[in-house]
């Protein structure tokens, strides 16, 4: 009996890995065809990607990028586990980073006070922004998909309005860049000097902590169990005593708070100010990565690293005479394939398990000691 259980588990693991692998292989095939169609050699491109992507400076770059992407993936995944589609991560992290940058620029306190303050401000702002969608959903039944999309647009407008000289921003020396007041250097987050390869952002450790917390809270606590229950079946959750509405509001707040962290590696480790060229669209990247990583903390990390790798290497391809749109093609195909592959594999797995359990029980029932029907 135990053996069967183990076999099922091993199979489940195999199926879990099969889906993303399938997606990536499919994406490679499609990319090969696309590059072939442009009349270039795809294998040269791939070998260039591998060589360039594994260089030490690329490694640091990819890790830094992945830090941001990982936080985005986790923020989205929290919603996914609840069956909530938080498309608003994008708006949430931008408005959070903006206000955190404004606060950071104004602070004159020592770093050990201001850094936590800046981070808390970002998480709080993100939570409030996501909370609006949560409250609307709970009280008025507004779909979080619609409200968060709109809140993204509103966030863009608010930032554009406030990011003007005389409002909350200033014209930087040189006169071309408008940004919030730069952080004092004491408010910079630590980074690790890796020599010629560049600086590794210290925020990667925060990202790791977030990942561990995500795993622990969802898998090991009562709260996490309730949250997963709501995600799997709202009706069963309500019957089991979970307040579904409260859970929706809470998880939106948490998702928003984590979304608030997305801009922090950039702000505290890199740009030190919020300007017009602050990265945008990472919230949507997060959706792709959460899908790719199957809402699993390790899976999301792998997804984030893959995304970083693709970005780094396709950038370089451009200099080799390839079209830079290759990146979009690969990413798009991966996400599409992942969604399809997961659903196919999930259904196959469920059905297969049902059959196996049925077969096992039928074998038991065939034994003479059995007295009742089990099928």
């Amino acid at each position: 009996m135990n053996k069967l259980t183990q076999r099922i588990d091993k199979e489940r693991l195999l199926l879990a890995i099969a889906a993303p692998l399938l997606a990536i292989v499919a994406a490679l095939v499609v990319t090969t065809l696309v590059i072939l169609a442009t009349g270039k050699n795809p294998f040269d491109a791939f070998s260039d990607m591998v060589t360039y992507g594994t260089a030490s400076d690329s490694q640091v770059y990819i890790l830094n990028k992945a830090t941001t992407y990982y936080l985005a993936g986790v923020a989205v995944a929290i919603g996914f586990r609840m069956n909530l589609f938080n498309i608003g991560v994008d708006g949430q992290y931008r408005i959070a980073a903006f206000f955190a940058a404004v606060l950071g620029g104004a602070l004159t306190t020592p770093g050990w006070i201001s850094i936590p303050l800046i981070i808390l401000c970002a998480m709080g702002t993100g939570a409030v922004w996501a909370g609006i969608a949560g409250v609307l959903k709970v009280t008025r039944g507004v779909s979080e998909v619609i409200s968060t999309i709109m809140l993204n647009a509103i966030a863009t407008a608010i930032i554009a309005y406030l990011l003007q000289p005389g409002k909350l921003a200033e014209l930087q020396a040189g006169g071309t860049v408008v940004s919030t007041k730069p952080l004092r250097s004491s408010s910079y987050f630590f980074q690790i000097d890796t020599g010629p390869a560049g600086e590794l952002w210290g925020f990667i450790f925060i990202a790791v902590l977030v990942g561990i917390a995500y795993w622990f809270v969802l898998g090991r606590t009562r709260f996490g169990f309730d949250l997963r229950t709501v995600g799997q079946s709202e009706s069963a959750a309500a019957a089991s005593g979970v307040s579904v509405k409260k859970m929706i509001a809470t998880s939106m707040l948490i998702s928003g708070a984590i979304a608030g962290l997305i801009g922090m590696p950039t702000l505290l480790n890199d740009s030190h100010q919020f300007s017009n060229d602050f990265p945008t669209g990472i919230g949507f990247t997060g959706i792709a990565i959460a899908l790719l990583g199957r809402n699993n903390p390790v899976g999301i990390a792998l997804g984030a690293l893959l995304w970083g790798f693709l970005e780094r290497t396709t950038n370089h391809l451009e200099f080799q005479g390839y079209d830079k749109e290759i990146l979009g093609v690969i990413q798009g195909v991966i996400v599409l394939c992942v969604v399809i592959a997961y659903e196919v594999v999930r259904r196959y797995g469920l059905k297969r398990q049902q059959q196996r359990v049925g077969a096992e029980l039928a074998a038991q029932a065939a034994a003479p000691t059995e007295k009742q029907e089990v099928a």
Binding site: L4, R228, A236, G241, S243, Q353, E373, V374, A375
Partner: protein
């Protein structure tokens, strides 16, 4: 394997019953006949011609139609529209279709009014619409899957009259049921299925329910009877003037529960009879705290819990066997041990403080599987991979593991096999002996009468009648379920005559 070596011959112009306990393979067989599933081996012959059905359309083309247990009708359409839906090519959607419906309805005595909105129809009428739908598509052989499960005894009689009409007109009916009395009264021939094989075909004349039952399960059927009364005079659950109303989209207030009051004592099983959809589900949800009351009070063991959240009610000792275990009782894609935690996440052995106690939950799941005879290869398989009976035994085991004071059991043995049914009845009886109060809701009137100490009948959100389970018959209960009788129901020797009681 769900089916093997099935041999059935159904003659034209007869009612052929297919009998077997739940899980014996009746539904699989029907799916094969209706083209929803393909057999691995063997053949189907219709009118001397060997056929293969790849999908339901093939089956309909051969004149085989299916009336499902769960109706597939659209509430917001009229009867005519429902019948025509998906078969517009046959007679159009206008006068010709209406004439055809009228013709069929008259020919078979179905009494269908084409322009009524479906939502205004009761269960029995809906079933007739389903039958008409199949006839409209040209079926000459009708498969009825457990058609009487949702009907009260009087409606069952009416349905049987319809079936006899169909038979008289030369149509063939395959009638699936595990209610033996009904089978004997309506069928011309009975085929019994056990463990996926046909074990025999008998004529109803000269066959008793007892013989049939033995064919079906290979042993005697369990009966839901309880022994001596264990009712105490300590009230445990007290409902006082419960009222629940809902405003629908048109702004019309619909009263779902109206002035519901009763008391269940320790050691008492209170049974509620009623046609489904008369407020039983809502009553359960109100007691569980899933629905908020508009008025009234609920007291559990002397404490008012009218406004206490569901989780606190469960912690206070309310066990809950929901009527729809897939929607309310299980996480289908989660492993069994997580399902063991469901609903009791705050209680031992599932958690310590805010943290889950995974080891505790897992070992306790093993214990439940052992004690409640849940047939599974392990606790890491998903709940979806268990059969209905085993899922239900897991739920019963889980709810009984937290020393409940009150057990709410809604259709506790629905869709479970005979073995599991007997086990579940045993557990309810044992718990009752130890002073548990039970609120039992069931569509199986024999179960209700057999297990209950007190019986109430619910009709349109009100408790309209009460009865003594020691003397009452299912037919007498049935007339109150349709609203025909109210007050205290007395058993009379000749028939189910209505008695008005001056006490109410």
């Amino acid at each position: 394997m769900a089916n093997k070596d099935i041999d059935i011959t159904v003659r034209t112009g007869t009612v052929h019953a297919l009998c077997g306990e739940n899980g014996a393979g009746k539904s699989t067989l029907m799916k094969i006949l209706y083209g929803m599933q393909q057999p691995d081996e063997g053949t189907i012959t219709v009118n001397g011609e060997t056929v293969t059905f790849n999908n339901p359309a093939d089956a309909i083309a051969r004149g085989i139609g299916m009336v499902h247990q769960h109706f597939m009708l659209a509430d917001n359409l009229t009867v005519l529209e429902n019948v025509v839906l998906g078969a517009e090519k046959l007679y159009g959607i206008g006068a010709k279709a209406r004439a055809k419906i009228k013709e069929l309805s008259d020919a078979y005595g179905l009494n269908v009014r084409p322009d009524v909105l479906l939502e205004e129809l009761g269960v029995a009428d809906r079933q007739r619409v389903e039958i008409l739908k199949v006839l409209y598509r040209g079926a000459k052989t009708l498969i009825l899957d457990e058609p009487t499960a949702v009907l009260v005894p009087q409606e069952v009689e009416a349905l049987f009259d319809n079936l006899r009409e169909l038979k008289a007109e030369g149509l063939t009916v395959i009638f699936i049921s595990h209610k033996l009395g009904e089978v004997l009264s309506v069928a011309d021939e009975i085929t019994v299925i056990r463990r996926g094989t046909t074990v025999g075909t008998v004529e109803p004349a000269g066959t008793t329910t007892k013989q049939l039952a033995e064919l079906m399960v290979g042993s005697e059927l369990p009966t839901p009877e309880t022994e001596e009364s264990t009712v105490t005079d300590v009230p445990l659950l007290k409902l006082d003037g419960l009222r629940l109303a809902q405003t629908d989209l048109d702004g019309v207030e619909r009263i779902i529960l109206d002035d519901i009051s009763f008391t269940i004592h320790k050691g008492e099983v209170l049974g509620i009879a009623g046609v489904e959809g008369n407020g039983q589900s809502e009553l359960v949800e109100a007691i569980m705290g899933i629905r908020a009351l508009n008025a009234g009070a609920i007291a559990l063991d002397g404490t008012d819990i009218s406004h206490v959240p569901t989780r606190r009610r469960r912690e206070a000792g309310v066990g809950y066997i929901p009527e729809d275990r897939h929607r309310h009782g299980l996480l289908l894609e989660a492993p069994l041990w997580e399902n063991r935690i469901l609903g009791h996440v705050t209680e031992k052995p599932n958690s310590r403080g805010q943290l889950l106690d995974i080891r505790g939950a897992r070992s306790d799941t093993e214990r439940i599987i052992e004690a409640y005879d849940v047939r599974t290869p392990g606790i890491d398989v998903t709940a979806a991979s268990l059969s209905g009976g085993n899922q239900q035994k897991l739920i019963v085991g889980r709810e009984m593991s937290h020393e409940p004071k009150l057990l709410i059991a809604a259709h506790p043995t629905r869709g479970v096999d005979v073995g599991a049914q007997a086990a579940i009845w045993d557990h309810i009886r044992d718990a009752r002996r130890e002073g548990l109060a039970v609120l039992l809701i069931s569509a199986d009137l024999d179960e209700l009468i057999g297990l209950s100490d007190t019986l109430r009948v619910m009709y349109r959100g009100r408790l309209v009648a009460d009865a003594d389970p020691a003397t009452i018959t299912p037919e007498e209960l049935g007339s109150a379920m349709t609203g025909a009788a109210t007050g205290h129901l007395e058993h009379t020797e000749d028939s189910a005559e209505d008695h008005e009681d001056d006490a109410r």
